[in-house]
């Protein structure tokens, strides 16, 4: 039993962190918020750095955390964590194009009403009646939908599926991959919200001292930290279980999503509370992370849906026993 990352994996994380900071700083997010067009420059940079070739879920999980820390507005979880393995298992000829960064894939699973980045996607992976379909760009239409997080581009999709679009694969497994990946992204978002808040409370003074010296403030941040740390362990475990094909991978994915969403909701609430009024302004960066966090809480299964799956596991296990 060894629950840690290798020096190589940590090096890839550091690379991702630097790259995301450079290619997708808060100022870039703000441009997207103001309606700037998306281009492929960031995706190309990810490809050049080799990040889009990562296939192992454990190698990827720290990159996903970093994507959350940066609130990266790119479909890295969808393309790499969900679509790439599905396409590889189906023996699709899209695989090399994904790895090289030539293709972006949007994903619609579990009856999700809107699809993130569908308008920019070269391929759409979707679930219909429990079966998976892969549709190239010209086989579907994507209509933009206004969203709360302006850097998260959502689309309503109109797609005609048939036997010619069907690909082999298990939609349930794909959803597990999605839940586990989004959990890791959520954890990164929580970490960043806490980092911003720590910085703020160490410098913001009231009553002649930093507000971070007040115990009520300390305890809120300590509580959030406790939950985020266990949520990270859960997301890492889920990545491992999926990569190793363990029998508990589906349970692990739901657990990861539940605890990540619960921890993020706490971090989200306490981050704003501890920022006070400044945190409620559009000018401050915090809200861009708060909004991404809230959006992802409901993505690839809400926490409540995943809690129900976990409960079903607990209760059916007893029936079997």
């Amino acid at each position: 039993m060894d629950f840690d990352f290798s020096p190589e994996q940590l090096a890839v994380r550091d690379l991702a962190r630097e790259l995301f900071e450079k290619e997708s700083p808060p100022s870039r997010l703000r441009e997207l918020w103001s309606g700037a067009e998306r281009d492929r420059s960031v995706w190309k940079a990810l490809g050049q750095a080799g990040l889009l070739e990562i296939t192992d879920p454990v190698d990827l999980v720290l990159v996903l955390e970093e994507a959350g820390r940066a609130a990266l507005p790119e479909p890295i979880a969808e393309t790499l964590a969900i679509a790439a393995p599905v396409l590889a298992e189906a023996g699709s000829d899209w695989v090399p194009r994904v790895a090289s960064g030539e293709a972006i894939v949007a994903v619609q699973l579990g009856g999700a009403p809107f699809v993130v980045d569908a308008g920019d996607a070269d391929l759409l992976l979707l679930e219909r009646d429990g079966e998976l379909h892969a549709l190239p760009h010209d086989a579907f239409t994507a209509t933009p939908v206004q969203s709360d997080d302006k850097a998260r581009r959502l689309y309503a999709v109109n797609a005609h599926t048939g036997s010619e679009t069907r690909i082999a694969g298990d939609a349930g497994v794909a959803l597990d991959r999605g839940a586990a990946a989004v959990a890791a992204v959520l954890n990164g978002i929580s970490m960043r919200m806490l980092e911003m808040t720590l910085e703020h409370v160490k410098t913001r003074e009231q009553f002649g001292k930093p507000v971070g010296s007040f115990q009520a403030v300390k305890h809120k941040l300590a509580s959030a930290h406790v939950r985020v740390e266990s949520a990270r362990a859960a997301a890492w475990y889920a990545a491992f279980a999926i990569g190793a094909g363990l029998p508990d991978r589906s349970l692990a994915a739901s657990v990861a999503k539940v605890v990540a969403a619960e921890a993020e909701a706490i971090a989200n609430a306490e981050a704003l509370q501890c920022h006070g009024g400044i945190g409620f302004t559009w000018e401050h960066d915090l809200h861009m992370w708060m909004k991404r966090g809230k959006a992802l809480e409901a993505s690839f299964g809400t926490a409540a849906e995943h809690r129900a799956r976990v409960a079903a596991h607990v209760l059916s296990e007893q029936a079997d026993a």
Binding site: M1, F5, K202, K218, V259, V314, E317
Partner: protein, 386 residues
Amino acid sequence: MDLRYTDEQEAFRAEVRAWLRAHVPKERLPTVGTREGFDAHRAWEQELGRAGYGALHWPVEYGGRGADVVMTAIFEEEYAIIEGPPRITVLGRNLMGPTLMVHGTPEQKDRWLSRILSADDIWSQGFSEPDAGSDLAGLKTRAVRDGEDFIVDGQKIWTSYGTFSDWIFALVRTDPEAPRHAGITFLAIDMRSPGVEARPLVQVDGRAGFAEVFFTDVRVPATQVIGEVNRGWDVAMATLGFERDAPSAPAGRFERDVAELGSIARALGRDSDAGVRDTIGSLYAQALAYRWHTMRTLTRLARGERIGPEGSVTKVLWSELERDTFAAGRELLGPYGEVLSDEAPQTDPLRWHSKYWFSRAATIYAGTSEIQRNIIAERVLGLPRK
């Protein structure tokens, strides 16, 4: 990263499980709050010791099995899952023994270590006092040098297993003039010394679990000072470090407890209630996350790293999970929660009742949640002290 257990570890788990199944007493032992019950628990600990499960993690040179942290955790987990009797050796085995290994003289090690292992000596921890709980350095129990001895006067409180223990390791004030932390000494005291009186304190759950311990002119040989006189604070910090490093609540236990919530829900016909399922789903998810969190900790310990203040994260996680799990059980039981007799739907109402109330202490003992959060905020997150 490889989260699978090795074949050797799996084999060890199977061995432990089989042994515990065959040997854990079928009938619950009488409570440790009576002499008879305490002796029954001691006998059980001696049986564990003879089978080689006394102190797995102790080095072979001290009579342990030299097991690594993972094997030790496997044992603790199996023990928790089968709900073996409470371990009255816990303070000697996990706190005093390791403290002696680091700070004890050769004579002290010879004298006490093997008797801790064989459960011939049961130790208790005399840190807390009526006016010094969270603020441990506020302790007042005095020890005054008199020739080759110290004369101890004062009182300890909330001393787990204190009523019938053989020895107590206590913090005493040896220099009242020195700054708070600099005048404290770590002393081993024989509970049978004249002038020691232990009075059982009945806990909220109705059991006499801990004691108040009074010292009146108790003569303690200076050879029983652990470490140096007036340097007891450092020794105590090492002791608390052992308490914090070990993932104090084995994973697996919470999964079992949440599963039991499931059977209560079933017995009450409420297992399809969406609210009940939501709670069970959340608690079980947290229980598994706790398991994986402790695997991360074990990996670090196995490499010889110390956990330090991050150990407080683990304490908050398990104590609040325990509290929340049993709180959910009490709520689920509704009017059956207060019933102690067999009309209740749970298989063992008394057990559930006692576990519920004991869970209410989890956020108090071994450092309250507030103190843990202070540690996390200041020493992990770097927030200013003042």
